[in-house]
Amino acid sequence: MEKTVNQKAWFLVLPVLLLVAFSAVIPLMTVVNYSVQDTFGNNQFFWAGLEWFDEMLSSERMWNALSRQLLFSGIILAIEVPLGIFVALNMPKSGFWASVCLVLMSLPLLIPWNVVGTIWQIFGRVDIGLLGRTLAALGIDYNYTQDTFAAWVTIVVMDVWHWTSLVALLAYAGLKSIPDAYYQAAKIDQASRWKVFRYIELPKMMGVLMIAILLRFMDSFMIYTEPFVVTGGGPGNATTLLSIDLVKMALGQFDLGPAAAFSIMYFLVIMLISWVFYTVMTNLDKKGG
């Protein structure tokens, strides 16, 4: 086929370029700009090179926040994925109750982050919250504003409450796409319930589960509003996750340079982990789980 050369075609790419420039490249570059300069106010900036990156990499504060963040994402994935699958497996496949389940399960997903935080903040309060009062009445020592463990339990349970539905709904969609014949063949082959799950349901769900895990990882890794509303990062720094720490640094202390360096590394970490996730999962998929 004859190839037509027409340089004017470049103009057609222009709108996209502009859009991406304003939505991503320019904001990102201002952050990069801050990360290599220092300022003492008056809008005067001095070249700082990689100093802020150095400082951040050797800052115990950032490493602590990062390990808390990894712990948080790890825990909620370990709970939400199996729980979501379990819920999906036990949902009715059709009829009135299937619709009821779907609506009920979508509800938490529709609530704004801020509201979710507020709900749990009040729910868990020892003086007026239903959960706090109940636990106190049962003689369980629970106070998320003072006790590190209680604070962690609260934010983890809150996230599980808010987001397990997403995993469950995706897994449910995967399950629904399995033709009846597979289950019938499994019965004929006398496969146990576990084998049906292992060799039919799980492989067929793998695609959507991969998306669910990626989404949940990225979202939880960037989580800010909910724990901030509930614990404000406390007690002490016990629930100060990466985003909370970043906001404290950038807006609380107005350390723009270090915060910018922090942001860039934060961004790279998410990219890196997501990429590793994706590669590992697609490879698993190819080899057949």
């Binding site: 033709p179 014949a181 597979y182 019938q184 063949a185 019965k187 004929i188 082959d189 006398q190 496969a191 146990s192 084998k195 060799y199 039919i200 492989p203 067929k204 080899k287 057949g288 789980g289």
Partner: protein
């Protein structure tokens, strides 16, 4: 291996079936003889798969009993019935190798690994997949997957029956022949009771000793291919089997004569006075063109099918198909059609009426 008895069996997918129309499978009594090869033939949606799923226990019938060698298994789960079933669309366990797929039913029943290996080899040879045994099943083509499904169905030697639900739909034509031959051979060698569901008459007639024809949730005829051809018990059988199907023409019956639009046709037998919708049925093979005797028809088209010609004719708006041999004369002045009296069947309300010897 077992004789399978259906006793007053019927099934409806509705919770409270009221009239007969609500039943996907209408009341049925039948024995599937031990070791016979049956084909279950009928148009899509006539209840074939329903019947098969009831036999294998995937479906609980709304009424009636099902017995294996006289033992009631109506409420026994699929696993206890020890039945193999192959479905229309390939079911393979994607994440397993071909070998593990074939071994799966045996391993689930706790057979010894050495026996499993030996059986898997044997089946792999039968379906021609020995060289891909160690490959994952997911990358394979649809017909390779279906061969695995077939293989999984055949891997157990001790099954009570082998059920096939239109298993060759997705297979290439030349492979179809080969697999069907393999199935016949398997039946010949091991004598399993086999039920083979299909809507393809060639497949049914070549595979089975006995063909069960279903229509609208009902078994309309059970017979050898020859019986189905010569004496269709129901107009549906006549029209469904044969290519083209039987000519079914409304007629008045009077003794040993039928009258179509007033023109007389000789019948091989005599009939008493009949009630209801009356028709005669003649296979195109038993209709011949003639110059001077029979019904005067309008010939609309002649199709040359190679070994024979199909003549599409019309008589007072009734279509009549005629099959003429390669060497039979066909000419412009032959515009009458004659039916062989011995092969004219009479139907009242779609069911064949046996005649008295004339």
């Amino acid at each position: 291996m077992a004789k399978i008895t259906l006793d007053n069996l019927a099934h409806s997918y509705l919770p409270n079936p009221a009239s007969e129309e609500d039943y996907a499978l209408k009341e049925l009594n039948h024995d599937w003889e031990d070791g016979a090869a049956y084909a279950l033939l009928g148009a899509s949606g006539c209840g074939k798969s329903t019947l098969l799923n009831i036999i294998s226990g995937l479906l609980q019938p709304s009424q009636g009993r099902i017995l294996f060698d006289g033992q009631d298994v109506t409420h026994a789960p699929t696993a206890e019935r020890n039945i193999a079933q192959v479905f229309q669309f390939p079911v393979v366990y994607d994440t397993m190798t071909v070998r593990d797929n074939l071994a799966f039913p045996l391993r689930n029943r706790g057979r010894e690994e050495s026996y499993v290996a030996e059986r898997v080899q044997e089946i792999a040879r039968m379906i021609g997949m020995e060289d891909v045994l160690n490959k994952k099943a997911r990358g394979l083509t649809a017909d390779a997957k279906q061969k695995i499904s077939l293989g999984r169905g055949m891997v157990r030697k001790d099954v009570n029956a082998l059920l096939f639900d239109e298993p060759l739909t997705v297979i290439d034509p030349h492979m179809k022949w080969e697999l069907r031959t393999q199935l016949k051979k398997l039946h010949h060698d091991f004598g399993h009771t086999m039920i083979y569901v299909t809507h393809d008459q060639t497949e049914a007639l070549t595979f089975a000793d006995k063909v069960v024809v279903m229509y609208d949730g009902r078994v309309v005829q059970i017979g050898t291919p020859e019986e189905l051809f010569e004496r269709p018990e129901h107009t549906f059988v006549g029209y469904f089997i044969g290519s083209p199907g039987m000519n079914v023409i409304p007629a008045k019956i009077d003794g040993t004569r039928a009258y179509i639009e007033g023109s007389p046709i000789d019948l091989g037998c005599g009939y008493d006075a009949l009630e209801g919708k009356l028709e005669i049925g003649v296979r195109p093979e038993y209709a011949t063109l003639s110059q001077d005797e029979g019904l005067p028809v309008t010939i609309r088209r002649i199709e040359d099918a190679g070994r024979h010609k199909i003549i599409r004719a019309e008589f007072f708006g009734h279509d009549i198909n005629i099959i003429a041999g390669e060497d039979d004369p066909v000419s412009a002045d032959m515009n009458r059609v004659r039916f062989d009296p011995a092969h004219v069947n009479v139907y009242a309300n779609d069911w064949r009426v046996p005649g008295r010897a004339a």
